[in-house]
């Protein structure tokens, strides 16, 4: 699993490539924690190449949600495949974390 970040204007984009599981989620956690620590806003997470997610991967997002909220950071996930989206839906997280289909929608969603 690879995690990369790029900047597009004011958008901080974190791209995940591969499987996000118990062995790899720490990588994403470090990148996301750093972005939040630097008060990047919005933080958009590109899930187009996220093939699989299990609970430690989901946990990376849930554990940082409060801090994003308290810092008024928009954390938006986009481009999930149907399998990954289903996992968020089962947990009801699609109603808590903003999730969009495309990067443009994610950019527009950011307040």
């Amino acid at each position: 699993m690879e995690v990369k970040f790029t900047e597009e204007e004011k958008n901080y984009i974190i791209s995940i490539d591969g499987d996000l599981d118990a062995s790899s989620s720490i990588k994403l956690d470090k990148v996301l924690a750093k972005a939040i620590g630097e008060n990047r806003n919005p933080i958009l997470v590109d899930c187009n190449h996220l093939d699989y997610i299990s609970s430690p991967g989901i946990g990376v997002f849930t554990s940082h949600l409060q801090e994003c909220e308290s810092k008024n950071i928009n954390l938006i996930l986009y481009g999930m495949n149907d399998k990954v989206l289903k996992v968020f839906r089962i947990l009801g997280l699609d109603e808590i974390i903003p999730i969009t289909k495309t990067k443009d929608e994610a950019k527009n969603r950011a307040k």
């Binding site: 599981d21 062995s23 699989y52 609970s55 849930t62 409060q66 399998k83 996992v87 089962i90 808590i96």
Partner: protein
């Protein structure tokens, strides 16, 4: 037909379990979304055992098997350890509490309970067997 795999207790081996379960289920007419959910539930149970019961000790191992029984898929995860966790009596936390407490833990077992239809535990000698099953309209 029964398929099985044995892996040593390293987190890196979870991808082998996933590939094994996916390969076994792909032989049946199951949607990719349903396959992924069953793969996920087995991954969560194995990760739990590897991390909590076996402390990621590569000298210890677990065995995973898949079989189809009528319209039901039965997954067994067998290991030898002192049972550290009782999933059956576990009251899963609410997602909102997990977020409020800035936690990531607990989500895996919520997923297992939501995905699988039945969860059973059995102790056979020194072996623990966790058996979960999912019914599908095939």
């Amino acid at each position: 037909m029964i398929h099985s795999i044995r892996i040593s207790c390293l987190k890196n081996n979870l991808c082998r379990v996933r590939n094994f379960v996916e390969g076994a289920l792909k032989q049946h007419a199951i949607s990719p979304i349903d396959i992924n959910l069953m793969v996920l539930a087995v991954d969560e149970l194995c990760a739990n055992l590897i991390i909590h019961s076996h402390k990621c000790n590569p000298k210890e191992d677990i065995e995973v098997s898949v079989r189809k029984k009528d319209n039901q898929f039965v997954f067994e995860i067998k290991d030898e350890s002192v049972p550290s966790f009782d999933l059956l009596s576990y009251k899963e936390p609410d997602m909102k509490d997990i977020i409020a407490n800035k936690r990531g833990g607990g989500i895996g077992l919520i997923l297992v309970k939501k995905i699988m239809d039945e969860i059973q535990y059995e102790r056979n000698g020194s072996a623990n067997i966790c058996r979960v099953s999912k019914r599908l309209a095939l």
